[in-house]
């Protein structure tokens, strides 16, 4: 290998490590330091064609390996990179938050909100984001930087739900090398548990960051996450209205966070509002039937993270390459490696080089691309597709990168996630916003609610299901605007008539 190639391999390797958010930080060489270490939002990768602006990606695209150059067909996206983008590009830090009873260690990405500039001024808002089933906290990575561009004082807390990302329950953590797979199947993914997890993460973050009080919060949930934030917003409304006595907090539909009741009481959640991304009870329930067929069409594994990113972009699952590069690595885990949190650089390096070897076998790379093409077509004529999906799945079994979360195994929870969602969405306290990828997704209850003016609806017809990844900029604009409207510190309404009368004014 030439020196150049080695450098490229190293860069690729450390990308992968970053993407998996592995602490402790693997050893960097100077070359890497230059590229990743510093700026947060400042040098976020730009969309697609301008990728030469991103030094990370340019290393990848400019110098393809000889194997690929010979046998693989030209990149589907000329001039674009499909290399993973590390989370450090988007978030200030990651947090591992062990619950007090030790049953679970939450993992979350955080960019802190700006503290209040002075007395009387409220701190920047904290957008707390919850991803959908099978996704991870990195789903909101690009969105977070877009929000920060428009509202620099905002913070973003994006957690990995249990069974997803790098959040580990003790049972799976104890299993260590064997991997979380079998254990994850037994995760308790009921809505109530997920909502209480979300509350715990907020409270644990406050403790870990030594915040004297919580900043005003806007909950953002995508898909399953939308159901979770709605559940939490609803239960906050009921608990706070029924009583604020600690003992009676127990009656809320959300179980207390494992960290103990005392903390919950202290947790005076200033909830400005909640936003739900592309999930509606009616259409979600309809879609559940075809979920297994859809899942069967997904490849079971990928040769590399790069392949995975490419599949997501080609199949239009995620329609924005930058978003896919940031979020997809969080969805996958290398099957030969352990589930343990730290992978030694040597391990990773050998794997990266192994990939290189794989690239030299023409069948490997080429087949993957054909497969991606097929996936794309199948998705068009869905749900007839799926027959091929099985063979795809088998073919993929030899591939090292596997899904972290086995979605099919979460089926017992599906109906519980979405049942009653519309009603809860309308009844929660605080501002409500629904972002959809199409108006046809509204069910009757929300259609009536919308026409009675009970919530704000934003529709982005050009987006797919992952609205915030497909259109991070537009979603950020909508969210920042949603915050602006619901920001009580800035809100000045005209005086009430009764007040004017009390002041003896003529009205």
């Amino acid at each position: 290998m030439s020196d150049l190639q080695k450098r490229w391999a190293k860069a690729k390797m450390s990308n992968a490590l970053h993407a998996m958010a592995t602490p402790p930080v693997p050893e960097f060489n100077e070359f890497d330091e230059d590229r990743y270490g510093s700026g947060l939002v400042a040098n976020t990768p730009q969309d697609d064609d301008s990728s030469s602006a991103s030094s990370v990606s340019s290393t990848g695209t400019v110098i393809p390996s000889p194997g690929r150059a010979l046998f693989a067909r030209p990149q589907g996206f000329p001039g674009r990179s499909l290399d993973p983008i590390p989370w450090t590009t988007y978030f200030e830090r990651e947090l591992f938050l062990p619950a007090e009873d030790g049953s679970i260690t939450y993992h979350a990405y955080l960019t802190s909100p700006a503290p209040s500039a002075g007395p009387g001024k409220s701190p920047g808002p904290l957008f707390v984001t919850h991803h959908g089933a099978g996704s991870s906290g990195l789903s909101f990575a690009v969105l977070s930087s877009e929000i920060r561009k428009r509202l620099p004082s905002a913070g973003i807390l994006s957690l990995d739900a249990r069974g997803h990302g790098l959040t580990t329950t003790t049972s799976s953590a104890a299993n260590g090398v064997e991997g979380g797979g079998p254990e994850r199947e037994r995760e308790d993914l009921t809505l109530a548990t997920l909502a209480s997890d979300l509350l715990s993460v907020i409270s644990l973050t406050k403790t870990a960051m030594h915040w004297p009080s919580l900043p005003p919060i806007i909950l953002v949930g995508h898909s399953l996450g939308g159901a979770v934030v709605t559940e939490l917003a609803c239960s906050l409304a009921t608990t706070s209205s029924s009583s604020n006595k600690p003992a009676q907090q127990q009656t809320g539909s959300v179980p207390l966070p494992v960290s103990g009741s005392g903390q919950l009481v202290d947790l005076d959640l200033d909830l400005l509002g909640y936003a739900v991304l592309d999930v509606v009870e009616g259409s979600a329930m309809d879609a559940l039937q075809s979920m297994h067929a859809y899942l069967a069409t997904r490849p079971a594994g990928f040769d590399s993270l790069r392949d995975a990113v490419e599949w997501h972009v080609r199949s239009r699952t995620v329609r924005n390459a930058v978003s896919a590069r940031a979020s997809v690595p969080g969805l996958l885990v290398h099957s030969s490696s352990s589930q343990s949190q730290s992978q030694s650089p040597t391990q990773a390096q050998s794997r990266t080089q192994g990939q290189e070897g794989g690239g030299e076998t023409p069948g490997g790379g080429d087949g993957g691309q054909d497969g991606a093409d097929m996936e794309e077509k199948k998705r068009e004529e869905f749900p007839v597709a799926g027959v091929n999906g099985g063979t795809r799945g088998k073919g993929g079994s030899s591939k090292p990168w596997r899904w972290r979360t086995d979605l099919a195994k979460t089926q017992p929870f599906w109906e519980g996630w979405f049942g009653g969602l519309s009603k809860k969405f309308l009844s929660g306290r605080g501002g409500k916003m629904l972002l959809l990828a199409g108006t046809d997704r509204l069910d009757t209850e929300l259609t009536i609610g919308q026409m009675q003016g009970k919530y704000a609806l934003q529709v982005f017809p050009e987006a797919g299901h992952f609205i915030h990844e497909d259109l991070p900029e537009k979603t950020a604009i909508a969210l920042v605007d949603f915050h602006r409207r619901n920001d009580r510190s800035a809100l000045v309404l005209p005086p009430k008539v009764s007040e004017m009368l009390a002041q003896g004014k003529r009205v």
Partner: protein, 440 residues
């Protein structure tokens, strides 16, 4: 004008007219609308309609129930397009009728008459589907910019035609049968509604198996007209000459304290995201005190105090507005000082609501002075003196006291016609889009 009549006939058959004809129609409409003020003044009798939302067959049903044009004067309060499958035919037909019978047809702008909203909620796609290009959509949007923002109805009678003086509200079904009647509350009768004429509370005649209304023994218990199931405070108001009725799509704006301020707006533009023009098209009344944040993301919520002060200051007896789906078709709020009229039955072909029209009849008594609400007569005292004197309601000081706020204003007699969705013609409906395949 034979072209126009031909277009009307064609559109009534729910067949779109050619692109060049749309262009000509829109051009004519614009010439007409540009002459109108932001607030159009019209005289009773008039039939006031709320949202249509492209439900063409229900619009035909509306004309059947309310009477055909030009025999009946109509005022449509916006939201002609989007959501339904025939936005194009519905809007073009209304526009044709406007051009053909300019003084019998009034169209004002709704929040859906906007480029931004129509691109998302269906009208744009429909134009693209039916013409293969966005030109027609562009012509229509240009017309939207010229639509008036509100209307003032003058000369409404305070008796329902053909009835005795006592009837204030009459609710009809779609076949013209009376479902219920509400008697006007006599002066000094404010809190004794139960003791009024007739054996039934509120003096209501109930037919069609509609349940008798709940007894309203105390003012806070708000009941609407029985049979409609509407809730509201439409329990009648004091009888004296009717003031004017302001019609607007959404509601009030904190930036607008006088109707005249609406007249000062520059309306010939896309609906802005905020400001007075936006509020007029987006706001909603709500059971709050003062102004509130609208959950819609545009406009405001406003409470009873705001409406009463506004009506008093502008010598209005009623605000008629649309914008909000009401399952019962109409809903009177705040001591009948504001009413929501909704004219899209079974909204989106699935909401299961009924629709309503509001008929205001012409004052034929020749009695009383029309209380002009344009702000052009005797406005120095806020109109209070003139209206009060005309009504013989005793002297009022210029300073409005708390008690005055509670005083009931005059209301014109209101006849509501409630109707159901037309039997749905399923031809031409786009197939339901397949469900999203990934939804977890």
């Amino acid at each position: 004008m034979s072209d126009l009549d031909r277009w009307i006939a064609q559109l009534r058959a729910c067949r779109p007219i050619a692109e060049s004809e749309v262009r000509e129609l829109c051009h004519k409409a614009r010439e007409l609308l540009i002459e109108e003020g932001n607030v159009v003044t019209i005289n009773a009798p008039v039939t006031i309609c709320g949202d249509i939302h492209g439900q063409f067959h229900d619009l035909m049903e509306l004309f059947r129930v309310g009477g055909d044009v030009p025999d009946t004067n109509y005022l449509f309060m916006g939201d002609f397009v989007d959501r339904g499958f025939y936005s194009l035919e519905s809007f073009l037909l209304l526009l044709c009728l406007k051009v053909r019978y300019p003084d019998r047809m009034t169209l004002i702008r709704g929040n859906h008459e906007s480029r931004q909203i129509t691109t998302v909620y269906g009208f744009y796609d429909e134009c693209l589907r039916k013409y293969g290009s966005a030109n027609v959509w562009r012509y229509c949007c240009d017309v939207f910019d010229y639509l008036a923002l509100g209307a003032i109805v003058l000369g409404a009678s305070n008796t329902v035609s053909g009835q005795s003086d006592d009837v204030e509200i009459e609710v009809h079904n779609s076949d013209g049968q009376v479902i219920s009647r509400f008697l006007r509350q006599k002066e000094g009768d404010n809190n004794k509604q139960g003791g009024k004429t007739g054996g039934t509370p509120n003096g209501t005649t109930t037919t069609n198996g509609a349940p008798p209304p709940a007894q309203t023994s105390s003012p806070p218990t708000l009941t609407g007209p029985p049979g409609s199931g509407a809730s509201g405070s439409s329990s009648g108001s004091l009888g004296n000459p009717a003031g004017a009725v302001l019609c607007v799509h959404g509601g009030l704006s904190p930036l607008i304290d006088k109707v005249d301020k609406i007249r000062l707006l520059d309306r010939k533009q896309e609906v802005p995201h905020e400001g007075a023009m936006c509020d007029l098209l987006w706001s909603d009344p709500d059971e709050i005190d003062g102004w509130g944040l609208s959950p819609r993301g545009a406009g405001f919520l406003f409470g009873a105090d705001i409406v009463k002060v506004f009506n008093h200051r502008n010598d209005l007896s009623l605000i008629a507005r649309a914008h909000q789906l009401v399952m019962e078709g109409f809903k009177e709020m705040f001591d009948a000082s504001i009413v929501t009229v909704w004219s899209a039955p079974n909204y989106c072909y699935r909401c299961g609501n009924v629709a309503a029209l509001l008929e205001l009849s012409e004052d034929e008594s020749g009695l009383g002075v029309l209380a002009r609400s344009n702000g052009d007569v005797n406005r120095s005292d806020g109109g209070v003196g003139a209206a009060g004197a005309a009504a013989g309601a005793g002297p009022r000081s210029g300073v409005l006291m708390e008690g005055d706020l509670l005083a009931r204003r005059t209301g014109p007699a209101r006849k509501y016609r409630v109707f159901q969705a037309a039997p749905q013609d399923s031809r031409g409906m786009p197939a339901k889009k397949p469900v999203a395949d990934y939804f977890l």
